[in-house]
């Protein structure tokens, strides 16, 4: 398994709101959290919301301070998540395997010109 950083942005919290205020982070950089664990508490003009974590992973960066106003679509948090090393086949067929040294039977003679 390899790790990959994935950044999540502040989602549209509905009602056409364009921003939200970070009230309190429920995680710190370095924490390893599960999917759906409480991640951050944010407030819009109309309600307060706890956003659950969309992924299991290790928190690498929090992009906003508490009490900071974050526009919808701006980065909120970056996770390091485990990703599959082995590629998954599609609905049909096999993932082609790469030969380290392609086999050949034919040798070439360089041109004389």
């Amino acid at each position: 398994m390899a790790q990959e950083n994935i950044t999540f942005t502040l989602p549209d919290l509905g009602e056409g709101l364009v921003e939200a205020t970070v009230l309190e982070w429920q995680v710190a950089v370095g924490d390893t959290i599960g999917r759906n664990d409480p991640l951050v508490e944010v407030e819009t003009t109309k309600s307060a919301v706890v956003i659950p974590s969309p992924k299991a992973g290790r928190v690498v960066e929090l992009h906003a301070r508490e009490e900071q106003v974050v526009p919808v679509g701006d980065p909120l948090v970056t996770f390091a998540v485990e990703v599959e090393d082995a590629p998954q086949a599609g609905i049909v067929g096999k993932v082609p395997t790469e030969e380290a040294a392609p086999r050949r039977r034919v040798r070439l003679k360089p041109p004389t010109d």
Binding site: P87, G93, P96, L108
Partner: protein, 339 residues
């Protein structure tokens, strides 16, 4: 329930990230859906499932069911719907799940999509990009390994493109979807899992431009899609023997870069064109003719073609014997050297 959405397109132009071709196409679709509210992505299993190769993974969640949606299983209707959507101001990016299932939609593609702009004297442009997982190499069932580029290239009004690696896939898709002409974007399935650093950059070359992937002076290998990779392997092996081969990724199969072909072959004097599709009336014939027309006096040997055979695409165990092999390409190179 409030859910976080994975971040869309990279903020910085030119950022380099390691991606498979699947992911690179996914990134490009995100950029397109973000930048242009008229872009619609639809087809069989592209929504909830995220595509049978995960190319549209997460797009429906991010952009909603209005803009990324599953259709019933009917290829002709998918392409026919694209025509109507385009006439109502949308920029459709339909997917037909596999090359072989473009055939049921050929009527709409050839009789409708390709010529609506012409028929209406420019009043009804068709800014449609058909994403078509294409070509062979993954031991798939019947109708999942076809190469239709000659058919599309032969159809007036269609542009045709086949990327060869993740970076190309990214920028060529941006270019295709932004074009106001219909484009058939052929994704080489065998390279979907090819993972390498991708420069997420805006396209710089115009539509129709080829590119030199490797320079050499003794001959030019011309290919597109997954065969570019095979030609790079051949060039590497040829170098062991002291033969320096140039590899030209044609990219656009219509319009074809005649000037790019001439520039390379007039220098190297030898050309071998490699494709997966059957030989007869394949695109290799067009490429060979263009070279002959522009470089006749420069050529040290007739243009060679290494292609699939004139047989239906075979089942798994015979696939490696159908597709151009390294030895067949080397032998073709040898023929040009010895002519």
């Amino acid at each position: 329930m409030t859910e976080l959405i994975e971040r869309a397109a990279p903020a910085t132009e030119g950022e380099t990230v390691e991606l498979s071709m699947q992911q690179a196409i996914n990134r490009a679709l995100r950029v397109l859906l973000t930048e242009d509210p008229e872009v619609l992505v639809f087809g069989e299993d592209v929504g909830t499932l995220g595509g049978v190769f995960r190319v549209t993974d997460g797009l429906q969640k991010e952009f909603g069911e209005q803009r990324v949606f599953d259709t019933p299983l009917a290829e002709s209707a998918i392409m026919g719907m694209a025509v109507g959507l385009a006439m109502n101001g949308w920029r459709p990016v339909p997917e037909l799940q596999f090359d072989g299932f473009a055939y049921p939609a050929i009527d709409q593609i050839v009789n409708q999509v390709a010529r609506m702009n012409y028929r209406t004297r420019g009043a009804a442009p068709m800014p449609i990009t058909l994403r078509l997982p294409s070509f062979g190499g993954i031991q798939a069932p019947e109708h999942h390994g076809e190469s239709l580029e000659a058919l599309f290239a032969h159809t007036p009004g269609l542009k045709v493109v086949a990327p060869s690696d993740p970076s190309e896939a990214y920028s060529l898709l941006l270019q295709s979807v932004r074009s106001d002409d219909p484009v058939v974007y052929m994704e080489p399935k065998a390279r979907y899992w090819d993972r390498r650093p991708v420069r997420l950059s805006e396209p710089t070359d115009p539509i129709g431009a080829s590119r030199i992937v490797r320079s050499g002076r003794h001959g030019t290998l011309i290919a597109w899609g997954a065969m570019v990779h095979k030609c790079l392997q051949v060039a590497e092996l040829a170098a062991e023997d002291g033969v320096e081969l140039e590899v030209l990724d044609l990219r656009w199969l219509k319009p074809i870069d005649a000037a790019g072909l001439a520039a390379s072959v007039s220098r190297t004097k030898r050309a071998v064109v490699v494709h997966e599709a059957p030989l007869t009336a394949g695109l290799g014939a067009e490429v060979a003719t263009l070279i002959t027309e522009s470089c006749f006096r420069d050529l040290a040997a007739p243009v060679q073609r290494v292609t699939g055979f004139d047989v239906p695409y075979p089942a798994g165990p015979l696939e490696p014997q159908y597709l151009p092999t390294i030895d067949r390409v080397l032998l073709a190179v040898q023929r040009t050297l010895e002519y």
